[in-house]
């Protein structure tokens, strides 16, 4: 029959056309998605910061080494009654806001809530969210970096990395910094 004949004759071409049109639709959709991502990156309000950032142990706050985000003040901004429990590394109950820290991809600022002598909650007040690079970084846990005071080591070594102090400029800058640190 002519219908069958024309179908069998035009079959491969029609399939190609279908695939071509489907391809265009798929490519158009992909372009749309890419455009949306580029032009309107997802902006997440600070209150909705994912808790995936918080390490399973909040050890940096509890360790003697301290954390890279020191509390802005040692006085809590709000107080509650003192805890009746005794904790090995207890904190005063209250809410503490850290200094904003430039974490290379943007600012990070946290607020810690202490209750019953231990950390109950860590909120992000600021975290990098205004650049595409920051979007990618936000999908992985941002690290808390441990800090420590310098300690002279008495161990024997084979070789040393570093160089001798020769710069006068460095000495002067160091002195002025230590002046400021004493106040």
């Amino acid at each position: 029959m002519s219908g069958n004949q024309s179908r069998s004759y035009a079959g491969p071409l029609r399939t190609v056309k279908k695939l071509f049109l489907s391809g265009i639709v798929i490519v158009a959709f992909a372009c749309f998605v890419a455009y949306e991502r580029l032009v309107r990156p997802d902006s997440v309000p600070a209150q909705a910061a994912p808790t995936a950032f918080i390490p399973a142990t909040v050890a940096p706050f509890a360790s003697s080494g301290g954390s890279f985000l020191p509390p802005a003040s040692s006085q809590p901004t709000s107080t509650s009654g003192s805890s009746s429990q005794v904790h090995a590394s207890s904190y005063k109950d209250g809410t503490y806001t850290g200094q904003p820290v430039d974490a290379y991809y943007g600012l990070v600022q946290v607020q810690v809530t202490v209750h019953g002598g231990s950390i109950q909650d860590v909120q992000f007040l600021q975290y990098p969210s205004d650049r595409r690079t920051s979007q990618r970084i936000n999908s992985i846990a941002m690290p808390y970096l441990q800090q420590e005071a310098l300690q002279a080591q008495s161990a024997q070594v084979d070789i040393i990395s570093g160089a001798t102090l020769t710069s006068e400029g460095f000495q002067m800058s160091l002195q002025s910094a230590l002046q400021g640190a004493r106040n």
């Binding site: 974490a103 290379y104 800090q147 080591q153 570093g162 800058s173």
Partner: protein, 245 residues
């Protein structure tokens, strides 16, 4: 550049001639890349006497490496400073890496090469232990503040006390770079460790986050208040059973 160089080889098979070829290489590097030498290739290039296209293969390789580093560090590493090229921030690590290659090609496997405070360590020391590397206290050169245990590993330290025209903040040239005094980077390859330590130092306090973001590299940054910040994997390189002096 006039920096001290130390090479220690444990393998009994090492010859004086092999060691000489290592020091010859450093001499060649100094003659070619020292901005303090008027007749060096870099000085002639900077005076406009030599177009980069006509420069030696090694010069071109250094420029290519510098450009790659500039892009990888978002512009915080840049050998162009005030209209002149100073590739010291990448040449040192590159030269040490070449020296290590010379030794390996010469059949030795237990050694370190140290130049200007940067080190490539290979194999084990004379006690058949990983090489023990100290990080110098920038506030007291007689002290060390960290002891590392390294094998087949490199460590590079950039600091205020060794700052020259090659370490500046290209994103803000008037930045005095006085918040951080010492930036140490540990990684498999000295060339990478050196260029990333230079860039991280130029980033100031943010440098430690940059090192943290690099897979395969760890860092230790000391600030002007004598506080240090560590990347999360840094402690795997520490020596855990030290012999005390």
């Amino acid at each position: 550049m006039g920096m001290p160089i130390t090479v220690e080889v444990v393998d009994a098979s090492a010859t004086q001639s092999l060691l000489d070829s290592v020091f010859d290489h450093f001499q060649y590097v100094d003659n070619t890349f020292s901005t303090y030498k008027e007749e060096s290739e870099i000085s002639r290039l900077n005076r406009g006497e030599l177009p980069l296209d006509d420069a030696s293969e090694n010069m071109k390789a250094i420029f290519a490496l510098a450009e790659r580093t500039r892009l990888e560090t978002d512009g915080y590493f840049d050998i162009l400073n005030d209209g002149k090229y100073d590739p010291s921030g990448v040449v040192k690590g590159w030269a040490i890496g070449n020296a290590a290659d010379i030794l390996r090609d010469g059949g030795v496997s237990d050694f370190y090469v140290e130049a200007g405070g940067d080190i490539q360590a290979s194999g084990l020391n004379a006690e058949a232990q990983p090489w023990r590397v100290g990080i110098r206290n920038p506030f007291d050169p007689a002290q060390i503040v960290k002891v590392l245990s390294l094998t087949d590993c490199a460590v590079a330290t950039s600091g205020t006390y060794i700052r020259g025209p090659h370490i500046y903040n290209p994103r803000d040239p008037v930045d005095p770079l006085d918040e951080v005094v010492s930036t140490t980077v540990i990684g498999a390859d000295i060339c990478d460790a050196d260029r990333f330590a230079t860039a991280a130092f130029a980033m100031g306090r943010r440098g430690i986050f940059f090192i943290e973001s690099l897979p395969g590299f760890e860092g230790y940054v000391i600030d002007r208040y004598q506080r240090a910040t560590l990347t999360t994997g840094f402690e795997r390189y520490l020596l855990h059973d030290p012999v005390h002096r």
